[in-house]
């Protein structure tokens, strides 16, 4: 199996005739090194199990009249333990394209940054911005070539190009889907429930942002692996803009304020006549 390592060809060595060992700090190795073992498949299986990719998260994105809304929670969990409540799951690929993170954090961060580099190179080579279709295809092809190696990525590429708003779902199994509404992660069923029932194509930006915020909030309430902060981004003709980042703990008491309940038993002074 020949891996497509074009994803790593992003840097030209600084000094022209640098041809010596790959450990030179000024050049990028031309391929990922694979371990030399007798039982490669067994080693691969153990390596995949070690990383244990579990898509404990909730991310969503949808297209509406004014553009694209992208929203995500911010919790990172390892089994039952919450390792962080403040993870950035919406990755800024370039000023007019966003990617969401679900699955392995390292995988998503690396490959999204790599995609950003390739998009910029495309811009420089072709004197025009890359389309969302093209960018998602670049990513999908690279991920397909690493299929079965244990990458865990469930991402949505959202952006605005010449044809208008674009939204694609790309995963590490090599799937790439074009669509208008997606939600990815362990909390996605709960988010879909709210998103699908409240969605209309012609919403204002504020209405769409509130829908996304509610959908993420409901997912964090029901799903144990989602929580933290619900961030909402908007992608329009001028690029993306972060609209809000609300702590879901506060959102709960905003949507469902605590009402004073009648007291069951109360001691009071009885006036003595």
């Amino acid at each position: 199996m020949k891996l497509d390592t074009s994803g790593l060809n992003s840097m030209v060595p600084l000094y022209g005739a640098e041809e010596d060992s790959e450990e030179s700090i000024l050049s990028v190795p031309s391929s990922f090194q694979l371990p030399r073992t007798t039982d490669f498949d067994g080693f691969q299986k153990k390596a995949v199990q070690m990383v244990k990719p579990a898509k404990g998260t909730t991310t969503l994105a949808f297209i509406f009249k004014e553009g694209v809304i992208v929203s995500a929670d911010s919790r990172a969990s390892m089994g039952g333990y919450i390792s962080s409540q403040s993870v950035k799951k919406i990755i800024e690929i370039n000023p007019y394209m966003l990617g969401t993170m679900a699955g392995g954090a390292a995988d998503c961060q690396f490959w999204h940054r790599n995609l950003g580099i390739k998009c910029r190179l495309h811009e420089l080579a072709n004197k025009r911005r890359i389309s969302v279709t093209g960018a998602s295809k670049l990513l999908a092809n690279i991920l397909y070539s690493y299929r079965g190696m244990g990458l865990s990525i469930g991402t949505m590429i959202a952006g605005w190009d010449e044809t208008g708003p674009g939204l694609y779902y790309v995963d590490a199994e090599g799937g790439r889907l074009k669509g208008k509404r997606f939600s990815v992660g362990s909390g996605s069923p709960y988010a879909y429930g709210v998103l699908d029932s409240g969605y209309r194509y012609d919403m204002t930006i504020e209405e769409a942002a509130e829908l996304a915020r509610r959908a993420i909030y409901h997912a964090t309430f029901r799903d144990g692996a989602s929580g933290g902060v619900a961030s909402v981004y908007y992608v329009g003709p001028d690029g993306w803009k972060k609209l809000s980042g609300d702590d879901v703990g506060d959102l709960h008491y905003l949507y469902y304020p605590v009402t004073a309940s009648p007291v069951d038993q109360e001691m009071s002074e009885i006036p003595v006549s």
């Binding site: 039952g80 919450i82 309430f221 144990g224 692996a225 933290g228 879901v248 703990g249």
Partner: protein, 204 residues
């Protein structure tokens, strides 16, 4: 995830000056999905004895019903309430009876004994008693709870301060656990009164 982590739970008990507090979270889940946010894990055996049960929810409910039954029978025969030490031995024996098909519960027992001296203890699922003088913890958030209690606990706290401490320890610990939280429930028992309070926590 193991059977103890199927429903998710967090229980903690702390000793103060002539008083004790026992607290739990309120979540009932099925793996990662949250089903209910008002599940009761702390049960009264008698006015000065409470038991908190963490672990599998069905065993929590069954064990609670069996223990209440046994205590009522004891009360009829002996015409008095059980001492906390005796009750702990009863729970330990009942759990060990099921040694080869155990209840998946880790109880936390807290009570006021003779002369209103506070008593707390915890057990594993097959009845190994562990007495403590300061605090005991149990549940999926137990490691976080150990850390939080260890740093926040002081001996001989007055009831108000004890309530504050146990609440903060519980909420801080469950905020680091995916499987417990969604509110808190605290019972504070002194020789003269019992206060039950619900805590407002993060609902994620």
């Amino acid at each position: 995830m193991s059977i103890f982590e199927y429903n998710g739970s967090a229980v903690v008990a702390m000793v103060g000056k002539n008083c004790f507090a026992i607290a739990s979270d309120r979540r009932l889940g099925v793996n990662l999905q949250t089903i209910a946010t008002d599940f009761q894990r702390i049960f009264k055996i008698h006015d000065k004895l409470y038991i908190g049960l963490s672990g599998l929810a069905t065993d929590v409910q069954t064990l609670h019903q069996r223990l209440v039954f046994r205590h009522k029978l004891y009360h009829l025969r002996e015409e008095r309430d059980m001492k906390p030490e005796t009750f702990a031995s009863l729970v330990s024996a009942m759990l060990y009876e099921k040694r080869f098909g155990p209840y998946f519960c880790m109880p936390v027992i807290a009570g006021l004994g003779d002369n209103d001296v506070p008593f707390i203890c915890t057990m594993d699922a097959i009845g190994a008693k562990e007495l403590a003088k300061d605090f005991v913890v149990s549940g999926t958030a137990s490691e976080s709870l150990y850390g939080a209690c260890e740093s926040m606990f002081k001996p001989d706290m007055e009831p108000e301060e004890l309530f504050e401490t146990i609440s903060q320890a519980l909420l801080a610990s469950v905020d680091r656990d995916c499987l417990s939280g969604w509110g808190g429930y605290v019972v504070l028992v002194t020789p003269t009164e019992v206060q039950e309070r619900t805590l407002k926590g993060r609902m994620d």
